[in-house]
Amino acid sequence: MDPLALFTLQVLNALSLSALLFFIALGLTLIFGIMRVVNFAHGAVFMLGAYCGVAAQTATGSFAASLLAAPLAGAALGLAFERSALSRLYAREHSAFLLVTFGLALALTEAIRLIWGADARQTELPAVLAGIVFVMDEPFPVYRLLLIGAGGLCWLLCWLGLQRTRLGLLLRAASQNPTMTAALGNDVGRVRAMVFALACALAALGGALAAPLLSASLGLGSNVIIDAFVIVMIGGMGSFIGTVAGSLLVGFAQTFGNFYVPELALGMTYALMITVLVLRPGGLFGRPE
C-alpha cells in the first residue's frame, strides 16, 4: 500500500479519535474552569450516553434518536446532580467534591450494570453511515468522517457559544472572578448548574457517537476519563483552545503510536503528557493561578 495513502488514513483515524475525545475533555475543562474541581464522574456520563444511545436506537430503530436521547439524558442527570449534591459543596473542601463525583461514577456504573447487564452492547449503523468511501484509492469508513465533522461542529458551536452568548460571557467571567460576577447581579449558582448540565450533555453525546465504533461496555467510562484528564492537563486546566490542542495531540499520539510502534502505544499518551508538563507545568495554554 502506498505509504502516503496509509499516512493519510492514519491522519483521518487520528482526527476521528480526537473528535470523540474532545466531546468529553471539553466538558471536563469547562467544569474545571468555573468550579475549580475535577468531575470524576465525567467518564461515567460518557458511558451512560453510549448505553442510552444504544437503548434509544434499539427502541426506535433510529440512529438519530440516539444522538438526541443521550445528550438529553446527560443534561438531565447533570442538572439533577449539580442542584441536589454539588451545589452544596462549593463552599467546602475540594476533597468533598471529588469524593461525591467519584461516588456518582461508581453509582452510575452499577446502575448501568443493573439495567443493561455486564455484556457489551452495540447496534447497527444505518446503511449510509456503515459504508466506506475511498480516500486516495483506499477504503475508509464513512462513519469516521462523520465523527470528524461532528467534532469540528462541536468545536465551532462551543467556541461561538463561549464568545457570543451571555451564558458564555458569564462562564468566562465566573471562571475568573465568581465574587464580582455575582456582585454585578448574576446568579453564579445558576451559571454553574447550566455549565455542568451542558458539559454532561456533551459527554453523553460523545458516548452515543462512540457507541457504534467502540460499543457500549462497562470499562468505557474509566478508559476514556483517563485520556480526558491527560488532554486537560496537556492543554492547561480550564482552557478552551488548550482542550482542542490536547485532544488533537492525544488523538494523534494514540493513533500513530498504535500503528507505527504498537509495543509503545500504551506509553505514548503518558510520555506526551510528561513531556508537555516538564516543559510547561501549567499545560500548553494554562494560565498561572
Binding site: 458569564l170 465574587t179 454585578l184 447581579g185 446568579d187
Partner: protein
C-alpha cells in the same frame, strides 16, 4: 436611601464590625474614612452579602436586603466598586462592562460613558490585564455605573489614580449624586473626600465614631484627625 443598622459580623475567626449604623442618602455623597484595618472594606463586603457571617438590618428605600444573596442585592440597585479593582483580567473592556448589563444601561449609554472616561474608549477591545492600574480603576467604576445603580459603593476608588484623574473622579461622583444616586465612598484620600462629600463618617474599632456634615468635619478637622485618623 441605603440604611444600615447595628451591623455586626466579620470572618470565621474575627469579629470586625461591632454594631455599625449609618445612612447613605440619595442625592448625596457619604464618605466613610478611618485608619487601616478598622473594617471599612469588611462593611462594604457585608452590604454586598459577601461576608461569611453578619447580623443587623440593611435596607434600600425601606426594603430589607439582609436575607438576599449577592446577585439579588446588585439587582435591587447596589453597584459595587471593590477595593483593588477586581476587573476580569481575561475579558476585554467591553466584555467587562457587559457582565453587569442584563439590559443596556438607561443612564450610561456608551457615548456618555466614554465621554466621561475617554481612556476606556481607546482600550475597548483590550483585555483587562493589559490596562494600566488607573485604567483598570476606571473600568471598575464604569462597570458599576452601567448597571444603573441606585446606591454606588466605592472602596478606595482613587487608589493608583493620577491626581488629574482623581479630580475627574470627584467630578463624576458629584454628578452621580446630583442625579439622585446614593454614593457611599470609602477613602483614604482626604482631599478627594472633602472635595465631594456631603457627610463624612469616621469608623474606628468596628463602629461609626463620628457622623456629621462636611463643613462640620472641616471645622473640627485637626482634632478629629489626631484622634481617629493619625497612626
Amino acid at each position: 436611601m441605603l440604611s444600615l443598622s447595628e451591623i455586626t459580623g466579620g470572618y470565621a475567626k474575627a469579629q470586625v464590625l461591632e454594631g455599625v449604623s449609618l445612612d447613605a442618602a440619595a442625592g448625596a455623597v457619604t464618605a466613610l474614612i478611618g485608619r487601616n484595618g478598622v473594617g471599612k472594606t469588611t462593611l462594604m463586603r457585608g452590604v454586598m452579602g459577601l461576608l461569611p457571617r453578619m447580623q443587623g438590618r440593611i435596607s434600600l428605600d425601606g426594603a430589607a436586603l439582609g436575607g438576599l444573596p449577592t446577585h439579588a442585592r446588585a439587582r435591587a440597585g447596589l453597584g459595587y466598586v471593590p477595593e483593588g479593582r477586581q476587573i476580569f483580567p481575561e475579558l476585554t473592556v467591553m466584555e467587562n462592562l457587559a457582565v453587569g448589563q442584563r439590559q443596556p444601561s438607561r443612564l450610561w449609554p456608551e457615548a456618555r460613558l466614554f465621554a466621561l472616561l475617554p481612556n476606556l474608549r481607546d482600550r475597548r477591545a483590550n483585555a483587562g490585564r493589559a490596562l494600566s492600574g488607573g485604567e483598570q480603576q476606571m473600568l471598575a467604576i464604569a462597570r458599576a455605573l452601567v448597571t444603573d445603580p441606585r446606591v454606588l459603593l466605592l472602596d478606595e476608588p482613587s487608589q493608583g489614580l493620577a491626581p488629574m484623574v482623581v479630580q475627574e473622579l470627584a467630578r463624576v461622583l458629584r454628578q452621580l449624586a446630583d442625579e439622585g444616586v446614593a454614593v457611599l465612598l470609602v477613602e483614604q484620600n482626604l482631599r478627594l473626600t472633602e472635595a465631594v462629600a456631603d457627610r463624612i463618617l469616621i469608623m474606628a474599632r468596628g463602629r461609626i465614631v463620628h457622623d456629621d456634615t462636611a463643613p462640620a468635619f472641616r471645622a473640627a478637622e485637626d482634632e478629629l484627625r489626631h484622634r481617629w485618623l493619625s497612626m
